[in-house]
Symmetry: C2
Subunit: 96 residues, 2 copies
């Protein structure tokens, strides 16, 4: 599940219009619309606010959010993408 799909799902479940979410994030409705469609990336603080609004664990949303960012980054380089991900995981183990 993608971050963008998840926040839309949560918003619908809670029966909230984009306008309400946008207000909480202190941004324009149009901007939030773009976040939900993946045309803009949310900031970390915005993810925090979203997890509060929807009563879900911050780490859950944060994981999806980060995964989306990484996917976006590597999908420009499909040839080496998956190997690079493996290496990055390895790097994490070594460094922290």
């Amino acid at each position: 599940m993608l971050f963008t799909e998840k926040i839309k799902e949560l918003r619908i479940q809670n029966q909230m219009p984009q306008r309400q979410i946008a207000a909480a994030l202190d941004i324009d409705t149009a901007t939030y619309c773009k976040i939900e469609k993946g045309e803009r990336k949310a900031k970390k603080e915005q993810v925090a606010i979203l997890s509060e609004m929807f009563h879900v664990e911050m780490t859950d949303l944060l994981t999806l959010w980060l995964a989306d960012k990484v996917t976006d980054m590597v999908s420009d380089e499909h040839v080496v993408a998956s190997e690079a991900l493996s290496m990055a995981a390895e790097n994490l183990r070594r460094i922290g």
Copy 2:
């Protein structure tokens, strides 16, 4: 092995001063120095030039380069980092 380590190793093996590499990349020596120390990220075109200079496969360097970028991105979020990497790998399989 990190990208930064690799290009330094290759440069030393070929007995080239940073000045020579910087000239080929059309940047200041100081900038190349930072790239080698990881304080600046190389652009993709620069990676291409480096692989030519050192006579190594472009994809080899590109993989290291991308892995470094990903590592850098996720290491800010160590709590969710490795799970996000798994998800990103999964996303790649699904999307492409």
